[in-house]
Subunit: 526 residues, 2 copies
C-alpha cells in the first residue's frame, strides 16, 4: 500500500503526528497509509529555515517572468498526469470522474493562468505600484511605491475537498510572488496532493526548498513563523479562529488569510418565466452546486431565495432532477454523486440536516440517509442523499443563515420578489464567498449587486443571454478574487495580480526624483 | 477646570471607566478632568449600532466627492482653530510650539489631502477596481471588480503622541470611504482631541453618527464588533497583541490594522564628506527625530548606522548640537525640547535607557536625567535629557534591535560601509515603519532600497540635492503608505487611494458583458 510522506528540507521524511490509514469513502477500503510522525518539535524550525533560505533565495533570484515559467511548467506537469490523478481522486476522495476533473483541471488551469500573469510581468524582480507622487511643493521630492517579495515562507493549510486545486491555486500565487511554500493537505484526502508532490520532486521543476509538503500534523510549525512569513488557511471557521488567534502568529504579525464558512445564496428574480433560459440556468446551477463534489464546495449554494409565487415550480423542477440522479460508487459512469469524504463528514452533514429541519421541512431527501448506494456493498461508504429543504418561516429562520452544512444540502427561502428584501435575507449570512442572482431585469440586478457587494467577495449575475457561456457561481476563477468578509473569514485570494499582494511587501520610497526614476523606472530591457 | 467627555450616540456623555485628572507634563499641574464612566456594558452595543446605522447610512448616501467636501471642511475647521489647539497641545502634551504645529498641521494637512482625493473621485458611490476581464472563451462572460463601503463602523484607538494628527489621519480615510468612526484618544493627552471633537459637533459639519468620541476606557466595545467592522490601532506592540487576539475580533473576522513598535534606522553612506549637503541633511534629520516631540514619534530614528571611520565625526557633530539645546518648559521660545507626556513614559524611557546601556556607552546625556529644566520648578515635570548611545559591539548587540525606547534616545551602530552589511543590521529590527539612507552614490542607494524594502513600509533616500526640498523620514505623508511588517504591526494606512481599501469591500462581479458595462461603467455625469 502507498505510504504518504512529508517532503521537507529537501528530502522525503515521515509525517508529523500519528500514523493514519486513508480509505476509499465509497467502500471504506484502505487506499494508503500516512507515515507516523518523526518530525519533532526542533525539526520544524529547521524545515522553516530551509524553505526560507534555500527556497526563498532561489526564487527571489528569478524574475517574475522566470517564476511564471516555473508555474506554467507545474501546470503542464499536472495536466500530463491528469488520468492518474483523476483515478486517485476517485479512490481517495469519493469523487465522480466529473468531480475529479473539476479539481485537477482547476489546479492546472489556475497554474496556467498565473504562469501567464508572471510572463506578462516580464524581466523584473519588483513591481511598480502606481505613479510617482510629488510630496511637497518641491518638484524634486517624490515618492514611488514598489512591491517586493517578502523574505519569509508561506504556510498553506488546505481543505479536504480540493486536494489538487486548493494546493495549486495557493502555491501558484506564492511561487510567482517569489515566496517558498510549505503546503499541508487535509490528511483524509491527501493522496492526490501527495502524488502531485512526488511528480514535482521527480520532475525537478522547482528550486530546492521552493515547495515543501507536510503529511499529517504540522506540530508546532506555526510557532516558528515571523514577521516576513504568511499563513493561508482554507477550512472551517473554528479552525480558522484557532490558527488566527495563535500566540506566535499574533505576536509576530504573521499575515493571515482565511477562507472559511459561507452560506452562499442564489436569488431568483421574479421576472424569469419558467421557460426562460435564465430560469434554466438558475435550476442547473443550484442542482450542480448541490451535487458536485457531493456539495463539499465552499462556494456551493446553501440558500435558495425564490419569489413566493414561484416556489412550487422550483420545488417541482429541482425534485424531478434530484430524483433522477444516482448516488453510489463514483467510479461508475451512471453515478451522479459519490459519498462525502469521511465518516466524520457524514456524521456532521446528517447532524446539520437535523439542525436545519428544526426550522425547515424536507422537500427532497428526508434526513439524508441513502437506502442503497449503487454498486457499493450494503452498509458501506459515507453516503448522504441530496437534501432540499424549505424554511417554514422565512422571517424567523436563523439556522439556515448561520450553520453551513458541508454536503449536498440546500434550503429554499421564499421571499417577496423585492430586491431590498432579498438583500436583507442574504445579508443575515454574515458575510460570504459568493452569491448569485438570476434575472433579466437590469434594475433588479443592479440593486442586488450593490446591495450584496459589501457582504461578499464575489457575485454572479446570471441572465438568459449568459446561458451556455458562463461557468456557475461555484467555480473559483483565477481572474477574480476569492474570499469574503465576516463568517467567510475576511480573506482574499487570486484575482490575477491582486492575489500577489498577500505575498509582497509594499514599500513607499521617497527621495530625489531623478534618483527614483533611475532606480525604479529603468528603460525596459525587452 | 475643563471636563473631557465622550460624544456617543449623538450626544455628550460621561466617559468610560474611572475619572482621571490630566496634567501639564512640564509642571504637573492639573489641566482637565476626564469624566468618570457612566457608559456601561449594555450601552456600548447601542453606541456601535447608532454609529453603524445613523452614521453609516448617512455617509453611504453621499458620493465620494461629497464626502471629500466634508473631509475638506474638517481640515478648514482644524486650521481655523489652530492657535487654540496649539495652546492645548503645549499645556497637555508637553509640546513645544513647533511640536504642536507639527501635530495640528499634520491633522489639517492630511484632511486636506484626503478631501482632494475624494473630490477627484467624483460623483460616484463605488470605485471601479481595474478593467473587466474575460473569464472563459466566451466574450460575453466577464468579471469586473468594484469596491464599496463596508456597512460597519471603524473603531480607531489612537496613541498619546499625536492627539490631533493621529485622530484625523485615520478619520479622514474612514469618512471618505463612507464608514463612520468611533475614535478613542489616549487618555493622558486627550485634551486636543476632545477640543477638536467639540469643534466638529458645534460646527455641525458631519452627519449625526459619523464621528463618535470615547473619553477613557472603551469597556467591552470590541465585543460588539462584527464582520463589517474594522479596528485600527496605533500604539505599543503589547496592546496591539491584546487587541488583535481578542476573542470576538478573531471570531468575527474584524479587519484589524496595527501600527506598533519600530526601530527605525538612519544609514549614513561612506561617500558623504563631512562638508557635503547630504551629510548635513543626515545630521539634521537625526537631531530632529531625537528631539521633536521629545522623541515620541513612532517614526523617529532609533538606530543610526555610521561607517566605522566616520563615527567620531558624527559623534562630535551630534553632541555639539544636542548640547546647545535647552530642555524645559515647552511654552518658552528658547526651549528646544519639552518633557515626555507622562510620569509613566518618563519611567519607561529611563528604564529603556538603562537597558540599552547594558550593551551601549553613553555619548551624550548619560542616564537621561535632567539636572535643571528651564523655567520649571525644581523637581517638577516629566523630563528626560536627549541621550545618544553607541553600541560597544555591533556584532553582538541585541537590545538596540529589539527594544524601542519611546523618548529622545538614539543609538549609534558602526558598520563597514558596505550596503549588504547595513541591510543585515537594519533587518535585525524585525520590521519597521521607515528607515532612511543618506548617500549620493546611486548604486549604494539602490542596493539599500531593494535590501531594506521587504522590511519596511516606507524608505527615505536622502541625497545632497534633496537638502532643502524634503521633509525628513519622521514625517508621515498622506500620499505614501504608513505601516510596516513584523514588529511594526503588519499594517498599512494612508498612501492616497491605497488607504481606502481597509474600509471598503472589494467584490468581483461576474456576468454578461453588456449588463456589467451598464451597471459599473456608466457614462460620467460630470
Amino acid at each position: 500500500m502507498k505510504t504518504v510522506r512529508s517532503y521537507v528540507a529537501g528530502a522525503w521524511a515521515e509525517g508529523g503526528g500519528k500514523a493514519q490509514t486513508l480509505v476509499n469513502p465509497a467502500t471504506e477500503e484502505p487506499v494508503a497509509e500516512v507515515a507516523g510522525g518523526s518530525i519533532d518539535s526542533g525539526d520544524w524550525g529547521r524545515v522553516v529555515t530551509h524553505a526560507r533560505t534555500r527556497g526563498g533565495e532561489a526564487l527571489r533570484a528569478l524574475t517574475f517572468a522566470e517564476r511564471g515559467q516555473l508555474v506554467k511548467a507545474l501546470s503542464k506537469l499536472v495536466h500530463a498526469n491528469r488520468d492518474e490523478l483523476i483515478a486517485l481522486a476517485i479512490a481517495n476522495g469519493g469523487n465522480t470522474r466529473g468531480d475529479a476533473k473539476f479539481d485537477i483541471d482547476g489546479a492546472s488551469g489556475t497554474l496556467a493562468a498565473y504562469g501567464e500573469v508572471g510572463i506578462a510581468l516580464g524581466k523584473t524582480k519588483f513591481l511598480v505600484d502606481g505613479d510617482a507622487a510629488q510630496l511637497t511643493r518641491s518638484v524634486r521630492f517624490v515618492g514611488q511605491h514598489i512591491a517586493v517579495p517578502r523574505q519569509g515562507v508561506a504556510v498553506h493549510i488546505n481543505a479536504f475537498n480540493f486536494p489538487a486545486w486548493g494546493m495549486m491555486e495557493k502555491a501558484a500565487v506564492a511561487l510567482l510572488a517569489g515566496v517558498p511554500v510549505i503546503t499541508k493537505p487535509a490528511t483524509s484526502t491527501a493522496l492526490v496532493a501527495h502524488r502531485m508532490m512526488e511528480l514535482v520532486v521527480e520532475a525537478k521543476i522547482l528550486p530546492e526548498g521552493a515547495l515543501s509538503f507536510v503529511a499529517g500534523s504540522v506540530g508546532d510549525l506555526l510557532a516558528h513563523l515571523g514577521g516576513q512569513d504568511v499563513l493561508a488557511f482554507t477550512g472551517s471557521s473554528d479552525t480558522a479562529q484557532m490558527l488566527r488567534g495563535q500566540k506566535d502568529v499574533v505576536a509576530q504579525s504573521v499575515r493571515v488569510n482565511v477562507e472559511a464558512d459561507s452560506l452562499n445564496a442564489a436569488v431568483l428574480g421574479r421576472d424569469l418565466a419558467r421557460d426562460s433560459e435564465g430560469y434554466s440556468l438558475f435550476v442547473a446551477d443550484v442542482l450542480r452546486d448541490m451535487t458536485q463534489k457531493a456539495g463539499q464546495k465552499c462556494t456551493a449554494i446553501r440558500r435558495v431565495l425564490v419569489p413566493a409565487e414561484m416556489v412550487d415550480a422550483v420545488k417541482e423542477d429541482l425534485t424531478e432532477r434530484l430524483g433522477a440522479m444516482k448516488v453510489g460508487d463514483p467510479s461508475r459512469e451512471d453515478v451522479g454523486m459519490g459519498p462525502v469524504a469521511t465518516k466524520k463528514q457524514q456524521e456532521d452533514v446528517r447532524a446539520g440536516i437535523a439542525r436545519l429541519r428544526e426550522e425547515a421541512d424536507s422537500v427532497f431527501g428526508g434526513d439524508g440517509s441513502v437506502a442503497e448506494a449503487v454498486g457499493v456493498p450494503k452498509g458501506k461508504g459515507f453516503f448522504v442523499s441530496p437534501v432540499l429543504l424549505q424554511v417554514r418561516d422565512a422571517k424567523t429562520a436563523t439556522r439556515v443563515h448561520a450553520h453551513e452544512v458541508f454536503g449536498p444540502v440546500s434550503t429554499l427561502i421564499p421571499y417577496s420578489g423585492e430586491a431590498k428584501d432579498a438583500v436583507a435575507i442574504v445579508a443575515r449570512g454574515g458575510g460570504g464567498l459568493v452569491s448569485s442572482v438570476y434575472s433579466d431585469d437590469r434594475a433588479f440586478l443592479g440593486d442586488m449587486a450593490f446591495g450584496l457587494a459589501p457582504h461578499h467577495g464575489r457575485l454572479f449575475l446570471g441572465s438568459s443571454k449568459l446561458a451556455g457561456h458562463a461557468v456557475g457561481p461555484g467555480t473559483v476563477l483565477p481572474q477574480l478574487v476569492h474570499g469574503g468578509p465576516g463568517r467567510a473569514g475576511g480573506g482574499e485570494e487570486l484575482g490575477s495580480l491582486r492575489g500577489l499582494a498577500f505575498y509582497l511587501q509594499r514599500t513607499a520610497i521617497a527621495g530625489d526624483k531623478p534618483i527614483l526614476e533611475a532606480l525604479f523606472n529603468p528603460k525596459s530591457e525587452d
